[in-house]
């Protein structure tokens, strides 16, 4: 097991190096001059030149790259030009916000989608199957910003059930001491129930928005994979041995059907983590997606590079977790480690 993990991490290194090179080149190839942007519209040519020199942008590309790489090796992601903050600190502060939102959205989605898919598969053609089809189609065809805005309009503006969509915590509560970076967990550790409630009520709408969007792939995959497994011969054997429907569906069918669903889950998660920019914008969520987009607009190289690299690392780790999960569920996979 440990050798497998070690091996997998080793294999990830070349791809991470590739990511570093490609993001570096891509950001340099982007239109827009960070020095000009940083100097402001009123700056003279000399001032821009000076800033360029200060930023090291006048050096040849290769030298810039090596400096960037050696900084990276020391754990230095560089500084953001717009905020002046070190990128590493910003990402460390913002990643938990995105991760918490995405995870909660995914959990909500799993809790709804998987039972829905299983029920739809065990009763094909029934009302629950149609419900599954309609819900998932609707969920995936509505853009997230639209769902988000509708939710805000209904639950905040009309009904007033949820707080204003302004960040992770109501302004009246203080931020809990950071342990995990997840407010839901940190507030509980700090035994601050009121803050926990506030954090949760802030999270519900954006998480629901993400969940509605990610329902479709998970439910559809669960349904399709359950249908295939239910038609398989070992399920027939289990039925012919008189096992109870619960045992047949859970122990025999569901565990086998989970394998493709887990793969889908990992894809949905990594997609949501990077792509929930729109949700973060609608709910003024201080996440990593909106950070990266803002940096990209202002030709701020360091945060963009830091963002892409962080995502790549997350992706590698996520895949590793999925592979380990696979091994836990399917004994046939363990051999190949």
């Amino acid at each position: 097991m440990l050798t497998m993990i070690g091996k997998r991490l080793m294999f990830a290194i070349p791809s991470l190096i590739g990511v570093v090179i490609v993001t570096f080149l891509l950001t340099r190839a982007l239109p827009g001059d960070p020095a000009a942007y940083f100097a402001g519209p009123a700056a003279t040519k000399e001032a821009v030149e000076q800033i360029r020199k200060k930023l090291g942008l006048d050096k040849p590309l290769i030298e810039q790259f090596f400096r960037y790489a050696s900084d990276l090796a020391h754990g230095d992601f560089g500084n953001s030009l717009t905020t002046g903050q070190p990128v590493a600190t910003e990402i460390r502060n913002r990643l938990p916000a995105s991760a918490e939102l995405t995870l909660l959205g995914l959990i909500v989605s799993i809790v709804i989608a998987i039972p829905l898919g299983v029920l739809a598969a065990t009763r094909p053609g029934s009302w629950i199957d149609h419900l599954c089809r309609v819900t998932t189609t609707a969920g995936v065809s509505l853009p997230v910003f639209f769902t988000g805005l509708v939710l805000v309009y209904v639950f905040y503006f009309r009904l007033g059930w949820s707080p204003a969509p302004l960040g992770r915590l109501d302004v009246f509560y203080s931020v809990p001491p950071t342990v995990t970076g997840f407010y839901l967990i940190d507030t509980l550790i700090a035994r601050d129930v009121e803050a926990f409630r506030s954090a949760l009520s802030q999270l519900i709408l954006p998480a629901t928005t993400l969940a509605v969007f990610s329902l479709a792939p998970i439910a559809r995959m669960t349904r399709a994979s359950m249908l295939a497994v239910l038609a398989s011969e070992f399920v027939r054997t289990a039925r012919a041995s008189g096992l109870s429907p619960a045992t047949v569906i859970v122990t025999y069918a569901f565990r086998n059907a989970m394998l493709p669903v887990i793969t889908t889950l990992s894809m949905v998660f990594s997609f949501l983590l990077g792509a929930n920019v729109l949700v973060e914008k609608v709910f003024a969520w201080p996440g990593i997606g909106s950070y990266a987009v803002e940096a990209l607009i202002s030709s701020d190289f360091a945060p963009v590079q830091g963002f892409v690299l962080t995502m790549a690392i997350m992706y590698v780790l996520l895949n590793l977790v999925i592979d380990i999960l696979y091994g836990v569920i399917d004994p046939r996979v363990r051999l190949e480690g």
Binding site: S232, F234, R239, G242, S244, N256, R332, L335
Partner: protein, 574 residues
């Protein structure tokens, strides 16, 4: 027969609702099984034999339902019983063994746990102290070596025969009264088949159980059953004592089925139904002497052919990692271990052996789909063994060695029509250009293999198994090959279709002067089609000689074992 049969099926009709309306898979079937009796249901694919057994257990697909008739099992009306009652019956009173043992087991659950699931469902905790111990007992009963260890094995870690033993253990764990075995040995080697069938018979006799054996193999039915029910197209056409039915079959379909079963002392022509056999009988089969005359310079010569595979195991890799020596196993596995043989012009040679003996590997190397480790492959005087498999596909030699594959369905591109499939090798390597010329050649080939021209524009799923086999053969002979490798071409076909296809192959060989390398596990089939037989075991040739000699007077112990394992129907068809 006892006064009240254990299972009494009366006037059973099973319907399936499909897109094209209602299909009656089984119509007005009457079957009864007495206590302790072994009954065979024999029929070809689509005869409704499996559907009948599923109806008895009420495990039909959602689309199927018992439309008419009654099924009584020891006083219980199966048709009227609630689902709970049925569930109680399944596994405890009636249980089932399925065709493909590996697929019939949950791939990600330990086999012991799977047996325990059944025990837990049907046996009260109070009656048994430990379900685990009981599961191990069940494994012991089916003669699995080291049952305590095997309890923790997953299906993929066991061989096919071993998996079938586990399925049997699963079925018999609760001592049911009736066992339904649905083609329990299809796909297993003959020696494994014998072991599995002997085990089933021994266990069911000991427990005084009734058995229904569903099979397409008349030999198997004759060897192991008291009574035989013959089904055709959803109807029972004949029911009789096993001894009677083989001595004196009444129904024409039964007679046809019996004729088509390959057996000792008959020629290929005898397999065909009487009328057809007479019509197509070619007066003289090509004399084997012709083949012998060309022996001086064989078409294919193979010398000391070896194929090794690196042995991949977690232990070996780990051992290397820690600088430790792996256990005594050699680090290569010899799939083919220095074999030499030759095939003459116009000769057909059978390559026989059980799964894993290296026969397919050998044929792949001759086909140049696989590189050999060492050894010589000489074809028509040329050393083709030195040509890399990747380069071979584009060479003119490719067209002279062709292959017919085992599964007629899987070996055809589902998106190609029959004509396109046949034309494919011509378009790749042939010299016929132009739409019309190509079409004409396809039609010519279709005529040769007896495929009606109107079927040429159909897709594989619109063709029957026999028709697909014909397409596969037409494709193989499209480029006038000198050697055709037949890899179990009839293994997936019904016996009556097999008889026709074997005859077709024989006729084509005589007409086109090809040589055959016939890879098969079925000695009876090989004997019919081949002049010479090579018996392989664990990568080596154990016996070689003329078909008649090897089959009537085997020298090697392994050949003898193979021959005795084949169940022979006591047939005398004239």
């Amino acid at each position: 027969m006892t006064a009240q049969p254990l299972l009494d099926v009366q006037d059973l009709t099973v319907e399936f609702s499909t897109r094209r309306g209602i299909v009656k898979a089984v119509q007005h079937v009457n079957i009864s099984v007495a206590k302790g009796e072994t009954l065979a249901i024999v029929g070809e694919s689509g005869s409704g034999k499996s559907v009948t057994s599923y109806a008895v257990m009420r495990i039909l697909d959602r689309a199927g339902k018992i439309a008419e008739g009654s099924v009584m099992f020891s006083g219980i009306d199966v048709k009227a019983a609630t689902e709970d009652q049925m569930r109680d019956l399944r596994g405890r009173e009636v249980s089932m063994i399925f065709q493909n043992p590996r697929a019939a087991l949950n791939p990600i659950r330990k086999v012991g746990d799977q047996i325990e699931d059944v025990l837990r469902t049907h046996v009260q905790q109070a009656q048994v102290k430990d379900h685990g111990e009981k599961a191990i007992e069940a494994l012991e009963q089916v003669k699995i070596a080291r049952p305590r260890e095997r309890y923790h094995a997953y299906p993929f870690e066991l061989s096919g025969g071993m998996c079938q033993r586990v399925v049997i253990a699963l079925a018999l764990a609760c001592n049911p009264q009736l066992l339904i075995a649905d083609e329990p040995t299809t796909g297993l080697d003959v020696t494994t088949q014998k072991a599995v069938m002997d085990l089933i018979v021994e266990l069911t006799r000991r427990k005084a159980m009734s058995t229904i054996l569903i099979t397409h193999d008349l030999g198997l039915a004759a060897a192991y059953c008291d009574r035989v029910v013959v089904m055709e197209k959803g109807r029972v056409v004949e029911t009789a004592k096993a001894a009677d039915i083989f001595a004196n079959p009444q129904h024409p379909y039964t007679k046809k089925l019996m004729r088509a079963t390959p057996r000792l002392g008959v020629s290929l022509r005898d397999l065909l139904p009487e009328e057809e056999g007479a019509a197509t009988a070619v007066p003289a089969e090509p004399a084997p002497a012709e083949a012998a005359s060309a022996e001086s310079k064989p078409l294919l010569r193979i010398e000391k052919l070896v194929k090794e595979y690196p042995r991949q195991g977690a232990t070996a890799t780990l051992g290397k990692l820690f600088g430790r020596k792996p256990p005594v196993e050699p680090d290569v596995f010899r799939a083919v271990d220095g074999i030499s043989f030759a095939i003459g012009h116009g000769e057909s040679v059978g390559l026989v052996g059980e799964s894993g003996c290296g026969k397919s590997t050998t044929s792949m190397m001759v086909m140049r789909l696989l590189d050999q480790t060492s050894g010589l492959i000489q074809f028509d005087g040329e050393d083709i063994g030195s040509i890399a498999p990747s380069a071979f596909a584009r060479l003119p030699q490719r067209s002279r060695i062709q292959m017919v594959f085992q599964d007629p369905t899987d070996s055809l591109n589902p998106r190609f029509t029959a004509a396109r499939a046949i034309a494919d090798p011509i378009m790749q390597l042939g010299d016929i250009r132009g739409r019309d010329a190509l079409r004409a050649r396809c039609e010519e080939l279709a005529t040769m293999v007896g495929l009606p021209h109107n079927l040429l524009d159909r897709f594989p799923h619109q063709l029957s198994g026999g028709q697909k086999a014909r397409v596969g053969i037409a494709r193989a002979i499209a480029l006038h090959p000198k050697l055709v490798i037949l890899d179990e071409p009839t293994a997936a076909l019904d016996v009556s279709v097999q008889a026709v296809v074997l005859n077709l192959l024989q006729d084509l060989k005589a007409r086109l002067g090809m040589s055959y390398l016939f890879v098969s596990h079925d000695l009876n089939v090989v004997r019919l089609l081949c002049d010479r037989v090579i018996v392989m075991r664990t990568g080596r040739i154990v016996e070689e000689g003329s078909s008649e000699k090897v089959l009537s007077d085997p020298q090697d112990d392994y050949t003898k074992e193979l021959l005795t394992a084949i169940p022979h129907p006591p047939l005398q068809v004239h």
